[in-house]
Amino acid sequence: MLSRTAENLFWIARAMERAENTGRLLEVGARISLLPSIHGYRSEWDSLLQASGTAEGFDRKYDAAVARNIESYMFFDGDNPSSVVSLFNQARENARIVRTALTTQVWDALNMAFQELKQLERRPRSELELTEMTDWVTRTAALVRGSINATLLRNDGFDFLNLGYALERADATARLIDVKYYVLLPRVEFVGSGLDNYQWMTLLRALSLHRAFHWSYAGDITARKIADFLILNPQNPRSLITSIESANWALDRLAKSYGRDMDVQHHARMLLARLTATTVEDIFDEGMHDFVTRFIDDTAHLSHCVWENYLTGDVR
């Protein structure tokens, strides 16, 4: 398939997954801000902006990191490339470019979301509850994902979509973990405190994973269990290992249908093998922040390889 077509499909998936994650981040932020914190209100919202990688852009535009500003910036702001509106617009435009590579159902889902978002933008902000906004994102993203799974031809285009979803999800979960460990709790004595547990719960809730967690782990919530769940548990749909497994699945299918392995398959398999051999102890020994940082770099490298191997059209 044309490299540009693959690229557009890849970015539709990334945009949709990122929009969903922006929605989740907003939800995490809203919940965390209900808690007492020794850092005060400001730092919690800051962490939210940092996790979405948009702190700099926000600072240029707003003085105060108050809830209303952050919500506007992360949901509606066209200047913020990671806002929900920007991402849905981008996904719909990518879809329009490769309209013929999509089914009517997938196009309808994206196009309808675009129209609904326009309606949402017209409503006065005072009437809009944050939960309504975040629920809309979760629901719409699921609709698009569902249409892809239910109707799309299982060809290389399908694989590039799944690859986009998987790599974006890996990156997003990693960044969420990092917000928790690195930004919110830089002071060692708080690790393992009651406050910490409560915030872990909030994080699980925001990922819609709190019930799943309890089904998988008995007893108290501990940092160890959470880390295992978010990073190494292959049953968790958003864990790092599951995301990398999905990426491998898509990449293996591509290698098979194109009849050749590229660098990216090699790197993806290595990453998965390393994760499989990793224990929670290894992670704590290395330091959570260092581990997550390394993982984010590895994932970025995989994306770069996808681009080099498939999206430039230069590889012989």
Binding site: L2, R4, T5, T312, D314
Partner: protein, 470 residues
Amino acid sequence: MTTCFNEMFDADAVRQPYARLESWTKAMPDALRHMKQAEAEALFRRIGITFAVYGEGGDPDRLIPFDMFPRVFTAREWGRLERGIKQRARALNAFLVDVYGRGEIVRAGRIPADLVYRNAAFEKSVVGFIPPKGVYSHIVGIDLVRTGPDDFFVLEDNCRTPSGVSYMLENREIMMRMFPDLFRENRIEPVDNYPALLRRTLASVAPAKCDKEPTIVLLTPGHYNSAYYEHSFLADMMGVELVEGQDLFVEGEYVWMRTTEGPRRVDVIYRRIDDSHIDPLCFRPDSMLGVPGLMDVYRSGGVNICSCPGAGVADDKAVYTFVPEMIRFYLGEEPILNNVPTWQCSKADDLKYVLENLHELVVKEVHGSGGYGMLVGPKSTKDQIERFRARIESKPSNYIAQPTLALSTTPTFVDEGVAPRHVDLRPYCLVGDRIELVPGGLTRVALTEGSLVVNSSQGGGVKDTWVLAE
């Protein structure tokens, strides 16, 4: 002007091609008609067939109004049109090969040298190059108007990249979905093989260096272009990749497209971008839409570009006047379809006549299109006419004038029911190793009562065009 030819009614009698349509409209209550009209619009919107008007702003997702009342030709009427159109397409291509070769028609004094060689559309860089099968213009769109039962006039030729064929196809699809009974009662020639014929035509002009089944692509300026829908539609229907300039690159003797499996050679490019943007190394150096080095590959026989760069010199409104002469010169035949008599404002005598008779003429810019920069004398105010007079006087060579034709009308659904509205016709002739014409075309209709301007940018609509089987 008072007696326009009505294609459905001859006095009170219904003309034969429309015989079965009379009962159809009579049996359709207003409510049903409104419902059907809404249904048609929803269908158009759903498939995403929209039209953006250049430089007008407004709704980029605007629909061209679709009129459900079909326009009908008999097999006999069409037969003559078909012969005339094919004759014209053949002559236009012969002209192009000639003027980029020895220029015999100029040497013979049948067309002025300046008109050809000083024409902005004349492409010096392809002089001496003969494209595969000697075809320069592979899709010739010929705009026709009708003034009587057997009187057709060619209004203009489009030899570059005539647009609108997606409407011809979609209009038919939608009519068949909404009114299947009509298609059972009338024996209507199908048009849906156009994409297959276009693909066949493009494949037939693959360059000599292509030794296998040719790879064809459709080159679009991108998704911001107003005709992007059509580009995407045609590529999809033909089963070829829709590419932008950035998807193609030149390496060695060929053009390649970037695919997820590496470079893939491209043999035929159906381009929907202008000559000046095709290759920054040959034309405008600032163009980002094209493919650097493409013209070198083309001229050394590594790829074909359809239509060929330079084809525009044949469809200029001033060159148009000489098409009947081309038919006589190259084919030794008399033109089957007539030109509209045309005055060249570049000629002193013609200019004098035009300026004296502005109130009853149609004046057009030589390089204009889309119904812009045009004066319809009888429909203009004194003030408008005077302002246009000043424009003509400041640059006469930029204008031609034609008599205001009494364009035929066909019944059209309007708010009050059915009323006659003026129409034109654009069939799409395909030229490759054979010359093909699907029985149909795009009928454009001026929806405003009395208006003669059918352009979609100026409030025109479209209709399904039927050719009845023998």
